[in-house]
Amino acid sequence: MQSTSILIESLPNIAGGLFTTLGLVIIALAVGFVVGLPLGVIQVYGGSSILTRALSRGAVLYVWFLRGLPNLVLLFLFYYGIFPFLGIDLPPFFVGATVLGLRSSAYQSQIFRGALLSIDQGQMHAARSLGMSRALALRSVILPQALRISLPAWSNEYPILLTDSSVCYAIGVMEMLTRASLQVSRTRAPVPLYLATAAIFIIMNYLGMSILRISERRWRIPGFGGS
């Protein structure tokens, strides 16, 4: 009975972090996309000049670095080291969203790279034979296909970022886990409160994935993937 009253009392506070968590995930997905897509492109289509070859090597190094470190280490590195060193003063929320986004960009770049590699080289030849420049062919023919092909794999970034967002607790972002922990210290009832937090995460995961599945069906290229 006591657990129920604690839950009823604390739940609005924990759920209040829902928008913060969602904000972290949406910004991180967007940063990951904006940074990851060019990284994927440069790894597949770079290499025709010294500059693009250098960028392509740089992209490989970037991906290797960001995928090789735990989220928490990256978060602390940026929060306590890199951003202060660069004179960038961001609230913890934006530091968290940026770091999650940059890490996601490393993974997203590999999703886009795989999708780009799956497109037959002949598609580029056919586009070029119509008189399209390389950039126009990439923009009008290759990327629209690659993005659609990559959507099922890209959708996995949502639950990954949703669960990873809780590490922002470590720098004081008032997301759901931070709020739940504060409520636990106040009420000393960890089980019902963390169970409730887990339930909210699972519902958010289910809803987000449902929307993404609809998008996958909507944008699927006929003849590719499931019906």
Partner: protein
């Protein structure tokens, strides 16, 4: 000054240690339908790709009309003037048949959307595919897909069409519809360079058959000359190294065709 639409002189291409083209030369005049035949790996497809510089030749010269295009800086402009049809169609999978034909018109020629749609529909009708305008490539048979890819190239209003084995990826029962479209184009005066081993088509359409072997044109002549056992080859490719000993017969072409039949 030659009135040729396309002139090729001494075109050569090497991939690593393999010399794929060895000084190929020929001319194409308006309305010509020249067909390249020869064993696989003899440089026919590479030759077509060198003409529109999808593959950069190592040496030699190519003129389109009076313009030398071997080192043309506006290669996209040159490619617009040379339609190309590929063995594997390479339709853009995310676009419908109509979208495939429209995209060059809207993105390259900057034609207004409505006008591009009407024009694309008329090009699809030209190859008998207007009924399938809203179908995606995965929903088309190989023959239908190839006809759409022909319409996609024709829509750019090219001066010459390059066909790189347009039926070799098709089941035999589907080749007829593609060859029929090509036959109609040839009879309508379209200038064409074709790589094909569909000999019935070659004999009925080709203004000249060029037999390639080892990266050079070794024998060339009209379909009638090739079929006539008493006829001799006109000449070898003048730019080819082996041209010093010109063949007096179509012996190699005929031997190849016998192997093809067998």
């Amino acid at each position: 000054m030659s009135d040729a639409i396309l002139r090729v002189r001494g075109l050569s291409k090497r991939f690593d240690s393999e010399e794929v083209l060895r000084g190929v030369s020929f001319e194409v005049h308006k309305g010509d339908a020249k067909v390249f035949i020869g064993p696989s790996g003899t440089g026919k497809s590479t030759l077509l790709r060198c003409l529109n510089r999808l593959v950069e030749p190592d040496s030699g010269q190519v003129w389109l009309g009076s313009e030398e295009i071997t080192h043309a800086s506006d290669i996209d402009g040159v490619r617009r003037r040379m339609g190309m049809v590929f063995q594997n169609f390479y339709l853009f999978d995310h676009l419908t048949a109509l979208g495939n034909v429209e995209i060059g018109l809207t993105k390259v020629l900057k034609m207004p959307k409505r006008q591009a749609k009407d024009f694309a529909m008329s090009e699809l009708a030209r190859v008998g595919m207007d009924r399938f305008a809203d179908k995606y490539p995965a929903e088309l048979s190989g023959g239908q897909a190839q006809r759409v890819s022909i319409a996609r190239s024709l829509a750019m209003n090219p001066e010459i069409m390059l066909f790189d084995e347009p039926t070799s990826a098709l089941d035999p029962e589907l080749t007829g519809e593609v060859l029929e479209v090509m036959r109609n184009l040839a009879s309508g005066g379209m200038t064409m360079l074709v790589v094909s081993h569909e000999m019935e088509f070659v004999y009925s359409v080709a203004s000249e058959v060029l037999f390639m072997e080892g990266g050079v044109i070794v024998e060339r002549g009209t379909p009638g000359q090739i079929r006539d056992e008493n006829a001799s080859a006109e000449s070898r490719d003048p730019g080819a190294p082996s041209a010093q000993n010109p063949s007096k017969s179509f012996a190699r072409t005929r031997a190849f065709l016998r192997r093809l039949d067998g």
